[in-house]
Symmetry: C2
Subunit: 289 residues, 2 copies
C-alpha cells in the first residue's frame, strides 16, 4: 500500500459525506488518524462504528492535522473558515490543507482568501450523494467511480491539488479540476436544477393527487422524485450562493415546459424535446457505464 497522502485528518460534520469520508479513510489508510467534529450524539455513533479516533465539539479543540475537511452545509462551512485561526499553533506558521465538500464553490473560495497564508484552501465537491443523509447512511464506498471536483482559486498545479486528488482517488473517486465559476454554472444544471425540479414536481403532484392518488402512481413518479427527500438546509445555502446560475437554469426549464404546454395539441414541441432528451439521456447513461 502506498504512503497515505495525509497522516491526520479532521472532518467537521459527520453526515452522509463526512461520515463516508471517515469510513473510507479508515478502510484505505488504517494508519491515518481521523478526528471528527459534530454534535455529541453523532460523535457517539461515529466512535461506535470506529469511523473516527476521537470526537470534538468545535474546530478550536481539534489537534493539529494535515488535512481539514469542512463537511457541513455551505453557509456553515463559510462560517467555519473563521474558526481555523482558533486551532492549535500559530496561524501564520500552520501548514495545512483545507477543503470542503459543499455544492457551490464561488462563495467559499472567495471567503477562503482571508485564511492565514500557510493554509492551502482548495474547494472540493464530491458528486456522491444518496437518498438519505446523516451518518447512519454513510458508507466507505459512497464515492466509488463518482466525480470529485476541485476548484483551486488560482494555479491548479499546486501541491495541495495533487495531494487532494491522490486522496480522493484512494477513496475510489475520479478527481477533476474546474474553476469555481465553471463548477457553479455546470452544477446549476446537472445538480441544482434536477433537485429543484424534483421537489417542485413532488409538491405539485402530491398537492393534486393526495394520498389516495399517490397510491395509483407507477415507478416513474418514484424515480423522478427521489431527490425530493433532500434536506432543505443544505439546499437553501446552495440556492443563496448560486442564485444567478440557478436562476438561468430554472428559466430554461420553465421555457421548455411552456413550449410543451403550448404544443400539447400539435405534438411538435413534444417531438423535438423528447427526441433531444432521449439523445442526452443515452449520453448520460453511457458516461456512467
Amino acid at each position: 500500500m502506498s504512503e497515505p497522502p495525509f497522516s491526520s485528518i479532521g472532518i467537521v460534520g459527520l453526515g452522509l459525506i463526512g461520515g463516508s469520508i471517515a469510513l473510507g479513510v479508515r478502510q484505505r489508510w488504517p494508519s491515518t488518524r481521523v478526528f471528527g467534529v459534530d454534535a455529541d450524539s453523532v460523535l457517539a455513533h461515529a466512535l461506535g462504528d470506529d469511523a473516527i479516533e476521537r470526537g470534538f465539539s468545535n474546530i478550536g479543540a481539534l489537534p493539529d492535522v494535515d488535512l481539514l475537511i469542512l463537511a457541513a452545509p455551505v453557509g456553515q462551512n463559510i462560517s467555519l473558515l473563521r474558526d481555523i485561526r482558533l486551532m492549535p499553533g500559530t496561524p501564520g506558521d500552520k501548514k495545512m490543507v483545507v477543503t470542503d465538500v459543499g455544492g457551490t464553490k464561488r462563495a467559499i473560495v472567495d471567503a477562503a482568501r482571508a485564511l492565514p497564508s500557510g493554509v492551502a484552501f482548495v474547494g472540493g465537491h464530491p458528486l456522491g450523494g444518496g437518498e438519505r443523509g446523516g451518518f447512519a447512511f454513510a458508507r466507505p464506498d459512497l464515492f466509488a467511480g463518482r466525480p470529485w471536483i476541485f476548484t483551486p482559486a488560482g494555479d491548479a498545479g499546486t501541491p495541495a491539488v495533487a495531494r487532494l486528488s491522490e486522496f480522493v482517488s484512494g477513496l475510489g473517486a475520479r478527481a477533476a479540476v474546474l474553476t469555481p465559476a465553471d463548477h457553479d454554472r455546470l452544477m446549476a444544471f446537472v445538480s441544482h436544477l434536477p433537485q429543484l425540479a424534483a421537489s417542485a414536481l413532488m409538491d405539485t403532484v402530491g398537492g393534486a393527487a393526495k394520498n389516495d392518488g399517490l397510491r395509483m402512481a407507477g415507478r416513474g413518479l418514484a424515480d423522478t422524485t427521489r431527490l425530493a427527500s433532500s434536506p432543505v438546509d443544505v439546499w437553501r445555502d446552495i440556492c443563496l450562493t448560486n442564485a444567478d446560475a440557478i436562476g438561468d437554469a430554472l428559466d430554461r426549464l420553465i421555457q421548455r415546459l411552456t413550449q410543451l404546454r403550448e404544443g400539447l395539441d400539435s405534438g411538435d414541441a413534444l417531438d423535438s424535446i423528447f427526441t433531444s432528451a432521449a439523445k442526452w439521456r443515452a449520453e448520460l447513461i453511457k458516461e456512467r457505464d
Copy 2:
C-alpha cells in the same frame, strides 16, 4: 389452481406491456390460449419465447377469443376498435370482453361506444412500466404489486369488470376502478407530468452541460431523468388525448418553479416547497412499501 377467467386471449401489440401480459398468462394459466397481433419480427420473438401460441398480422385474422387486449399506443388502439367488426362471427352475436392498456381513458371509452352490443369494452391502464419498451424487456412479473385501473363507461359492477379484475389480480396487479375523467385527471399529475418534466429537464440539462458536463453529474440527475428515454409515439397520443388535464398540471408545475426562481435569494418559497415535497415523497414511498 382456480378456473382461468378467460380461456382464449388476443393481444394486439406485443411490446413491454402486451408481451408481459402474454408471458404472465402463460405462467399463471397454462391452459389459456394466447394469440398475438404484431409485425412479423415481433411475432417471431414472441413465438420463440413461447409467449403466444400463434401470431397474426391483423385483428381480422384472429380466431374467436374471450378477451381482446389492445396494447398499442392510444391513437392506434382507438383505430383498432373499428377492426373488431372484421373478426370472425356476426358482430351482433359476439360475446367478448375488450380492454386496452393505454395511458388515457376518456378518448377510447368514448370511441368504444360505437362497438357492437355484445362486446363489453372496459378501459384499462396497468401502472407497470419500465425503463425500456419492446418485447425484449417484457417479463411475467411486470405488474406484481402495481395498480391496474379499470374505467368502465357506466356501471362499475358489470361482470366484465369483475372478470378483468380477477384476470389482472392473477397477474399480480392490484385492480382499481375510476371513472375515465377521474383517471385522466389523476394520471395527468402522477404519470404524465413526471414524464414531461423528466424529458424537459434532460433536454435543458443536456443542452447546457453537453457530454463533458454530463460526465460530472451525480446519481440524482440519472434518477430524475430515467423516464426521458420513453418512446415519443406513446406520449404524443397521451398528450393529444389528455391535453386539458396535462395543461393544468403543467401550469401548476411552472407556477412552483417560478416561485422557486423568484425566491432564490430569500429561501422562503424553497422552505415551503421542500417541506411539502418531502412530506408527499414520504407518503409516496409508504404507499409503495
